[in-house]
Amino acid sequence: MYKKFDIFDILVGKAEDPDYGNKPVVIQGITGNFGSVHTRLMREYGTNIVAGVTPNKGGQSFEGIPVFDSVKDASKNFNVQISGIFVPAQFFLSAIKDAVNSGIKLLVAIPEHVPVRDAMESLEYAQSNNARIIGPNTPGVIVPSVNKIGIMPSQPFKKGNTAVFSRSGTLMYEVSFHLSRAGIGQKIALGIGGDPINGTNLIEAFDLISDRDEVDSVVVVGEIGGDAEESLVQYIEKTGFSKPVVAYVAGRSAPKEKRMGHAGAIVYGNYGSAESKISSFSRVNIPVAKRPAEIPSILLKLMK
């Protein structure tokens, strides 16, 4: 388990910081297809991208952003703590090590298809250096109206006081879209990632906001596979987590032993089944929406 990790301090900062709300970010894989498109979109949203990394392209620039061969080189010029990682899966582990070795504290890991072994090794590496990984296979993290590190579209998100934690990318957008339309903005929306191994799991995500008064509620979007939702319920029971929570679980009708798109979305026997997750939430009286569109009305009722 990680030590208490203050994600808002890293992403937003404190009011007295000269770069409050404008924290510098490095993008690994900035010149790639995916990295370049989203670098543009992140910038448009207000993310302060100060440097990019692509091996063997050091010295070039991408739309005015200097490109370096490594985070190590970039960190000689900029004091950065946040990295958005857009490299292909086979280079993931080395990208993580480069970032961690260079003082990056928050690594937002976008790539899909990272082998489990590499994900586990990355995690150990980050943990032993007090760095935090979000993902892999995550859409990233957004603090609406401040910045976003990731590939999520901007339109669904509105500034507010709910936290959205989701194992699915598109469902994070979908749910936030419904929330925003109902007048429920988000303090933070964070993608756990669709892989079996998550750098920040649901419990750790809850831990990020548990003692923050400005976060008044949580929407958790789960899906079949693994036991993250069941463990979360145990955590909620054990810690007496008291903010209103609404849950949703995708995959009720998915067949067993079939991988439903995400590497982690697979049911073996009862392990990972939607019924197991839904009954866990129900046991501690956390309402589970049947459809994403129902979530806002359920949450509004809880908040009354």
Binding site: F34, A89, Q90, E112, H113, V114, P115, V116, R117, M120, L123, I151, M152, P153, S154, Q155, P156, S166, R167, S168, G169, T170, L171, Y173, E174, F177, G194, P196, I197, N198, N201, V221, E223, I224, G225, G226, D227, A228, E230, S231, Y248, A250, G251, R252, S253, A254, P255, E257, K258, R259, M260, G261, H262, A263, G264, A265, K290, R291, P292, A293
Partner: protein, 370 residues
């Protein structure tokens, strides 16, 4: 990737985990080639990826030579949970004194590997009460730890030595082949006290296959699946007649649930991910067009990553080229969705603002078309 039993046992042989003497036969001529070598009795085992073979009668014992042929035929023609075997494993029966359970699996919640052992082998481990689950390091599994696992099961002497040997080799296999699960159920203790793996269930991390060219020969996917994967889609064929396409695994799963709740029967799950272009979505529709059972297509698209106007163009092209004729019910939201709606206004595709509206319209259509 879930390996068939015989494939798992090939890995066991590579790692020097003992298995019974066995042969493979795909058809009768292969059976007759091995028949004379067999030392009876033998066990015929249908090679399937689905579980519960024993209960389904897909494992048969042959005491006499005359039984071989009819039982082999029976297994080849026996369907279990929609699956037929492509090969039958023929194993010489062993003299079993006792059965144990052993597995190593990726414990996702704990982000480590866990080992399950039990002195009660041979049955479904979920129903076994006396099992020990412990976290282990697959890189640091020592002889001492392996021995203590055997000791907990109440075995000693030759058996303990043989069992701990299997534990260590299994951990090595899991580490080197990047398995998410390696289960031996049962580990048989023979009359001479040594241990043998009677079954093998191994699941390899799909994302690590690029490091394991030696395992690619075990990849068994349908032509459609292969076509889908080449285009970067996740595709799962289901039992019903409604194909569901969308961007994002969670969104498509969620759509599947809502269709199911509305009384519809999903026939395909297709997630075209975030990298879709006009060409890839056209290809997605091409995959779906090959499923003759599909009566209607539901597209649930949350824009932003994918440009929704590109999806609309692909739908138009697919109709124009005569590739698909069934109606498409689409919910498209996000970037460029107004443009997408306009583009599709004169086609066989109907557009809706919410997925619920699209589904209720679609389910009504399916009901009418029966």
């Amino acid at each position: 990737m879930k390996l068939l039993e015989y494939q798992g046992k090939e890995l066991f042989t590579e790692y020097e985990i003992a298995i019974p003497k066995s042969y493979l036969a795909k058809n009768h001529s292969e059976l007759s080639q091995v028949a004379d070598k067999l030392r009876l009795p033998v066990v015929l085992k249908s090679q399937l990826t689905v579980g519960g073979r024993g209960k389904a009668g897909a494992i048969l014992k042959c005491m006499k030579k005359e039984e071989l042929e009819p039982k082999f035929t029976e297994l080849l023609n026996k369907e279990v949970k929609g699956e037929y075997p492509s090969v039958i494993l023929i194993e010489e029966a062993v003299d079993i004194y006792k059965e144990l359970y052993l597995s190593l699996f990726l414990n996702r919640g704990k982000r480590t590997y866990s080992l399950i052992s039990s002195a009660e082998g041979g049955m479904d481990i979920e129903s076994v009460e006396n099992k020990v689950i412990q976290d282990i390091s697959i890189t640091g599994l020592t002889q001492a730890i392996a021995e203590s696992i055997g000791k907990n099961l109440g075995i000693s002497g030759v058996t303990a030595e043989s069992f701990s040997n299997i534990v260590i080799k299994l951990a090595k296999l899991v580490r080197e082949k990047e398995a998410e699960l390696a289960e031996i159920n049962p580990v048989a203790i023979l009359r001479d006290g040594t241990c043998l793996a009677l079954d093998a269930k191994i699941i390899i991390d799909d994302n690590s296959i690029f490091r394991h060219p030696e395992l690619t020969k075990y990849i068994q996917i349908s032509e459609l699946q292969e076509q889908a994967e080449k285009s970067g889609f996740s595709f799962v064929e289901l039992d019903g007649n409604i194909a569901i396409i969308g961007n994002g695994a969670g969104l498509v799963m969620s759509t599947l649930d809502i269709v199911n709740d509305a009384g519809g029967k999903p026939g395909a799950f297709l997630d075209f991910g975030g990298r879709a272009t006009t060409e890839t979505i056209y290809k997605a529709l091409e995959v779906i067009s090959k499923l003759k059972k599909v009566k209607a297509i539901l597209v649930n698209l949350f824009g932003g990553i994918v440009r929704t106007d590109l999806v609309a163009q692909a739908i138009l092209d697919a109709y124009k080229d005569g590739m698909i004729s069934v109606p498409i019910y689409a919910r498209i939201s996000g970037a460029e969705s107004d443009k997408a709606k306009q583009m599709l206004s004169n086609s066989n595709a109907k557009l809706f603002d919410t997925v619920e509206e699209a589904i209720s319209s679609l389910v009504q259509y399916i009901g009418l078309s029966k």
